[in-house]
């Protein structure tokens, strides 16, 4: 038997062995390998990393790092704020938020929190700093301009004005 044929059969045998090892070893190995690459989900979906938390008695407001669109992405830059209740949010929430942490108020956000979680949410944002865009009665318009409920938290994405 030629050396190429021997190598071929050896490779075929190893392939069968690899098939046996897939559920016990290879699947987990490749999964861990991919996870270890240190990739992250696009911030347009994830909202970007958290940078600051403002705590009140009933809830905390988590402020994320501003997100900018890549290349030809059709979204605007935005900043995400999460209202996370300690137990449950009040029926109406209105807050003046210092988004950039400079000690000056940047936006006033107000929305109703319906008891039925399936009821659509609407948010109003008043811009106190021209860097942020005002929003009136906005639901789920775009990834960069929305209010949504994720589990017990309410997420608001405020578009940033183009400078």
């Amino acid at each position: 038997m030629k050396i190429q044929a021997k190598l071929g059969y050896t490779a075929a045998g190893l392939t069968v062995l690899a098939a046996v090892l897939v559920p016990f070893l290879l699947y987990g190995l490749f999964t861990k390998g991919f996870a270890a690459l240190g990739l992250h989900v696009d911030e347009m979906y994830s909202g970007g990393p958290k940078v600051r938390t403002i705590k009140t008695a009933a809830y905390s407001i988590v402020i994320h790092r501003p997100v900018s669109p890549h290349m030809l992405q059709s979204e605007k830059p935005f900043v995400q704020l999460d209202w996370k209740p300690v137990s449950a949010l009040a029926g109406h929430v209105s807050d003046v938020v210092d988004v950039d942490g400079d000690g000056q108020p940047d936006i006033r956000v107000s929305f109703d929190v319906p008891k039925d979680p399936k009821t659509p949410l609407r948010v109003n944002v008043e811009a106190l700093n021209p860097h942020y865009e005002a929003m009136r009665n906005v639901g789920k318009e775009r990834f960069s301009k929305l209010i949504v409920r994720v589990d017990d938290a309410i997420l608001v994405r405020v578009p940033l004005a183009q400078r």
């Binding site: 490779a11 075929a12 992250h40």
Partner: protein
């Protein structure tokens, strides 16, 4: 023309003996028992029964492959069952978990969009250039429909691809079975003359989608062109744009997965459109198994060319004794050849020397993956159906 009756082995020799066939099936019996042992232990009767039925089904098909020497027609039973039962299990789970096939924005933001293998080639460039995954899921288990996360799906795809290469499209893909089923319905193809340039379609779609995904930073194929959104889940239509997207999904599904396979008896979506299939073709170069044409035996009658569901054989390639790199190792050409000129082959070995050994080694590896991945999906779909009755 390749008709249903002709994609059968033209063997002069008798069927393999039952005893020998049972012996050759034994490893798959043990493997199936191992894979479905979890289902057997479940207290839920529908899950338990689905596991038993699927295990018996997969073992029976492998036994028939051994007994009849034929690969294609028995593999097709598995593949069609996979194609039909995947949507059943998936839609059932989606409806139970969120009450709609539409993916709401909040689920995307929460990273709970289930990840299938289709966008894998689209993620490579953005990930390589910016370390970003342009998919609204979670890398690690993210709860909800995201199940075990993107890393797990990529890990599974890598592991199976290492074993079967482009054979993924015949033994693992949970979408291709629908069109393979459709293609098997008519006795004869009504549309026989297909411009061979359509074969470049998947490469064109792949190139366009890879570049668009990089430019738009979104999984462009999933957003705009995936025909299988029609039977899995789709972007919740919030506006006119969403309606257009869903209209495209339905039109592509109807055209490429239902109507054209019925007219051509080909897997038209796989052969002319699927970018993942084109990407997977690259792994035919790394796979040790392939199909060769023994030129000393070939007439050539082009029965194999007509039987190939993805047009992976041409007169030129037959003359060279090769299949094209889009060959997905389904076995249709091998089974249809009256002269046994189309043969399974292990790279490095001589063509047509012990082709059954090559077939057995391929089938143990590929059927092992089919039981582990496809079999589990079949069992889930079956459990959803049995749940109604049990």
């Amino acid at each position: 023309m390749a008709t249903e009756a002709r994609i059968l082995p033209h063997r002069e020799i008798a069927a393999r003996s039952i005893g020998r066939s049972v012996l050759l099936t034994l490893p798959i019996v043990l493997w199936s028992l191992l894979i479905f042992s979890n289902s057997f232990r479940q207290s839920n009767r529908s899950v338990q029964m689905a596991g038993i039925i699927t295990a018996v089904f997969m073992i029976a098909l492998f036994f028939m492959m051994m007994r009849t020497w034929s690969t294609y027609r028995w593999r097709r039973w598995f593949f069609v069952a996979l194609g039909l039962l995947f949507p059943v299990g998936f839609i059932h789970t989606v409806m139970v978990m969120r009450g709609s096939m539409g993916i709401p924005m909040e689920e995307m933001i929460a990273g709970r969009t289930p990840f299938c293998f289709m966008p894998i080639p689209l993620l490579i460039l953005p990930a390589a250039l910016t370390r970003t995954v342009v998919f609204p899921g979670s890398i690690l288990p993210g709860g909800g429909m995201s199940s075990s996360g993107i890393a797990a799906m990529v890990g599974l795809w890598l592991a199976i691809t290492l074993v079967v290469g482009k054979g993924w499209c015949s033994y693992a893909c949970f979408f291709g079975g629908i069109e393979e089923g459709m293609a098997s319905v008519p006795k004869r193809a009504k549309l026989r003359k297909i411009d061979p340039r359509w074969r470049y379609g998947p490469w064109a779609v792949l190139l366009a989608m890879v570049l668009l995904s990089l430019a738009l930073f979104e999984p462009a194929y999933c957003m705009w062109l995936c025909p299988f959104k029609a039977v899995s889940e789709y972007v919740a239509a919030r506006n006119t744009l969403g309606m257009v997207q869903n209209g495209i999904f339905i039109a592509l599904f109807a055209g490429l997965v239902v109507v054209l396979p019925l007219l051509t008896k080909k897997r038209t979506q796989c052969a002319f459109f699927c970018p993942f299939g084109a990407f997977q073709s690259i792994f035919n170069k790394t796979s040790v198994f392939d199909v060769k044409i023994d030129r000393t035996r070939c007439s050539p009658c082009v029965l194999c060319q007509n039987a190939c569901p993805t047009m992976s054989l041409t007169k030129e390639s037959i003359a060279q004794g090769e299949t094209l790199m889009s060959c997905m190792k389904c076995g249709a050409c091998v089974d249809v050849c009256p002269k046994h000129a189309a043969v399974w082959h292990i790279k490095g070995t001589e063509v047509a020397v012990k082709p059954e050994r090559a077939r057995l080694m391929l089938l143990y590896a590929a059927w092992g993956m089919a039981v582990m991945f496809g079999g589990t999906i079949i069992a889930q779909g079956l459990a959803a159906i049995l749940h109604v009755f049990v």
